[in-house]
């Protein structure tokens, strides 16, 4: 056995309502760990042979909610959501903060595997080993805040009734979708609280396609036994002490960056990336802190950083808007990217996006793209149901977001996400609009530009990533760099929040892994073997793709066209991505990870990792 695991997984077939417990082999857990790594393995084993035909929003797709061995132990609890992505048609490990993973392990499960699709709206209620599929018709259509309220009340009511002598029941932990997920919008999230999001990948739409409104879990057992609790305590203390001394993330979260990343590193999306620099002090973190943050420190299980905050607008036109933070990504994508530079408008849009169950990054990027098409006259008022998304007009962007969540009018087309919408608009208007979409392999980019060279991603970061535009999983060299996708795979597979590791020695996470699991794991072994194996599997499924889209590395391992335009303003004015340098870096990256000149994993690289079946499946792409 490996310590740190509950030892079993819950498998629920929503078509047949069959619920069972399964176990995974020791070797599988040892090699694929949990979360993203394990998701990749499960999806490959079960769907790999027919990957290209599996519709991400069809009943054949498998939806996964996986913890990792470090979940609940390493400070900052998370859960990883995965499946075949309706954005990239590959696999994305999409993690979200909260107590869900902890409750799940305390209920005795390392993860949940959902197959099939329900006939009518349902939710899953897990109380330890009691698992039931319950009717959710009365909650279908509800926004995030009401969904959380109704399930909290209902589940506590059930627990009280069943266990009248237990005392007061704490709320179960809930993962849910909003209207956008229900309507299979490809930019829909799986949400927790108000609203932490598993955004990248679009798994809210997968949940919606299965008519699964929510999962609520209450686990009353302890977290699994660990190999060395004294060591776990000692390492936890070291991490916490470091974090408590550092103010940046704790005080501001990433919320200082809405100003900083524009003004200082000049890498923030502004008006759909037409610029990346601004010096709007109206958008300074002091304005957020002093005007809208009503809870200055908001955290999830075991987290010393508590980078989240709660913002509320108390006066004026947007009174009553409530959201977490907004963090940097949403300050950028629902702020500067719309030409909006006030906290109140930004909180209003973020609150709305939460309520609708949309991803602020994907939807903000998409709407910025739409607004640029409007600016250029490619899309007119009559194309947009009478709406005019002018830069800075928060109400117009809000109206479009609602249309997307409910697939009304133009919203139905836009609900396919930026890339797919661009293909359709291009056809409709006979104009190449792909040049204005800032995305990679169906996934809109995180709010960190590469042109100034002053932010953290490199010029190949998005183009070569197996998770496309995901800013939390970027490609870079050397492969063991702390920003590297191969290291990110560790965070996403052991499943904890990597915002707690910035100040600690790099090896501590592997020591932590050993203290929990009892297994030795050296960074070198992780990067060169285990993480690389997961990366190859993700790459294989990404390239196999289908059924609606396929990626050709020669075309799609590429930056958005915009990144080859020179920055028009700011301290790095004129800077752009050098195409020759990009090609060189890409070549070096391909070589380092064992991909051939066309970007396909090489036979010998796959064989070395024991992935002969993957090699066979990729033959047709070579």
């Amino acid at each position: 056995m490996i310590f740190g695991y509950a030892g079993k997984f819950l498998e629920v077939d929503l078509s047949t309502e069959n619920i069972k417990e399964i176990k995974l082999d020791y070797e599988v857990l040892r090699d694929y760990v949990g979360g993203r790594g394990l998701a990749t393995k499960i999806l490959w084993d079960r769907l790999g042979s027919k990957w290209e035909t599996v519709a991400p929003l069809g009943p054949e797709n498998i939806l996964l909610f996986l913890t990792g061995p470090l979940t609940g132990f390493f400070p900052g609890g998370r859960i990883c959501v995965s499946g075949k992505s309706p954005q990239s048609n590959g696999v994305v490990g999409s993690t979200v903060a909260g107590e869900f993973g902890v409750e799940l392990k305390c209920a005795g499960y390392d993860g949940i595997i959902i197959t099939g699709e329900a006939e009518k709206p349902v939710y899953l209620f897990i109380k330890d080993s009691d698992v039931e599929i319950r009717d959710a018709s009365h909650v279908w259509g509800k926004d995030a805040k009401q969904t959380v309220r109704l399930f909290t009340k209902e589940c506590r009511g059930i627990l009280k009734k069943r266990f009248p002598h237990y005392g007061e029941w704490k709320e179960p932990s809930i993962l849910y979708i909003g209207p956008a997920g229900e309507n299979k919008v490809r930019t829909a999230i799986v949400g927790a609280k108000w609203t932490h999001a598993a955004g990248y990948g679009g798994y809210g739409a997968v949940m919606g396609s299965k008519r699964l409104k929510a999962i609520a879990v209450k686990g009353t057992g302890p977290l699994p036994e660990v190999a060395d609790m004294e060591k776990v305590k000692q390492l936890t203390q070291a991490i916490c002490e470091d974090v408590y001394e550092k103010e940046l993330w704790r005080r501001w979260g990433t919320g200082s960056a809405g100003y900083e990343v524009g003004a200082t590193t000049s890498s923030e999306p502004i008006r759909n990336w037409q610029e990346e620099w601004h010096d709007e002090k109206s958008f300074g973190v002091d304005k957020f802190e002093n005007r809208v943050w009503i809870k200055p420190y908001w955290g999830d299980f075991g987290c010393p950083t508590t980078c989240l905050k709660i913002a509320m607008v108390k006066t004026g036109r947007f009174k009553g808007a409530i959201t977490d933070n907004p963090d940097y990504e949403l300050q950028a994508y629902l702020g500067t990217n719309f030409g909006i530079f006030t906290p109140e408008e930004n909180v209003f849009l973020s609150s709305l996006i939460d309520d609708l169950g949309l991803c602020g990054i994907q939807t903000g990027n998409l709407l910025g793209f739409v607004a640029e098409l409007f600016q250029r006259g490619i899309l007119a008022k009559q194309d947009l149901d009478g709406l005019e998304p002018k830069w800075g007009d928060a109400e117009a962007f809000a109206a479009l977001a609602r249309k997307i969540a409910f697939r009304e009018g133009i919203g139905d087309l836009l609900a396919e996400g930026a890339y797919r919408a661009a293909l359709k608009i291009g056809e409709m208007k006979k104009v190449d609009v792909l040049q204005y979409v800032v995305q990679c392999k169906g996934i809109s980019l995180g709010a960190h530009g590469i042109r100034s060279g002053k932010d953290y991603p490199e010029i190949i970061s998005y183009a070569c990533s197996v998770q496309g535009g995901d800013h939390t999983s970027v490609a870079c060299l050397p492969l063991d760099d702390s920003r590297s996708e191969l290291i990110m795979i560790f965070h996403d597979s052991a499943v904890y929040c990597y915002f707690n590791i910035f100040g600690i020695p790099r090896n501590l996470k592997f020591e932590f892994y050993k203290a929990v699991t009892g297994l030795e794991l050296a960074q070198e072994e992780w990067v060169n073997t285990k993480a690389l194996r997961i990366l190859q599997l993700q790459r294989a499924m990404l390239l196999l793709g289908g059924p609606d889209l396929k990626w050709n590395p020669k075309i799609h391992d590429e930056n958005p066209a915009r990144f080859y335009e020179p920055l028009p303003s700011g301290p790095y004015k004129g800077k752009t991505v050098d195409k020759a340098k990009f090609e060189q870096d890409k070549k070096e990256y391909y070589e380092a990870v064992g991909w051939d000149k066309n970007g396909i994993p090489k036979s010998e690289a796959l064989e070395k990792l024991g992935l002969q079946d993957v090699d066979k499946a990729l033959e047709k792409l070579r």
Partner: protein, 175 residues
């Protein structure tokens, strides 16, 4: 944190709670040597997101739980003023829960006895981690002759108050 000699009380400022739940982790590690949120004597409720607060014994002046216990399983620690549970005697009948104005005690999730904060014998571990984190939600103070019983409130009652304080008139909509 120095161990106070006289009876102590854990002062609590709910609105500062970040929801990090380090108190639950510390409590369950101390009492159970496991990370076990449901077996923690202090439990963080979040009936409405953003309104997290630790729910635990307020050591009422008149100890109604001790009074209510038919089997003399509950007693008062003369040193700290905490309510002590005799796990052998306790039958898990739940009368102390009903007697508590805040319905604070709850059953051990796997054993047949009630859980009530014992102040860790005078050096509450929850306070220690809360102070280390500089949250200052929990603070050990000397127990004076105040109406501590006011703090024995149900999770719903506390949430209702916090909802108004945090979200104003909108708070009602989330309850």
């Amino acid at each position: 944190m120095t161990t106070k000699k006289e009876p102590i009380w854990v002062a609590r400022d709910f609105s500062k709670c970040s929801g990090c739940r380090k108190c639950e982790i510390a409590c369950s590690l101390f009492h159970e040597n496991r990370i076990w949120p449901e077996a923690s004597r202090i439990r963080v409720f979040m009936l409405v997101p953003g309104l997290e607060f630790p729910h635990f014994c307020a050591q009422c002046e008149d100890y109604p739980c001790v009074e209510a216990c038919q089997v003399e399983a509950l007693s008062i620690d003369s040193k700290t003023g905490a309510v002590l549970v005799d796990e052998e005697k306790c039958t898990g009948c739940g009368q102390c829960i009903d007697a508590c104005p805040g319905r604070v005690p709850h059953m051990h999730p796997t054993e047949n006895h009630i859980l009530i904060c014992d102040l860790c014998g005078g050096d509450p571990q929850c306070v220690k981690v809360c102070q280390e984190g500089k949250w200052n939600v929990l603070k050990t103070v000397s127990k004076k002759n105040y109406a501590y019983k006011l703090y024995a409130r149900t999770p719903e009652e506390i949430t209702r108050d916090l909802a108004v304080k945090m979200y104003g008139e909108l708070g009602e909509e989330f309850l």
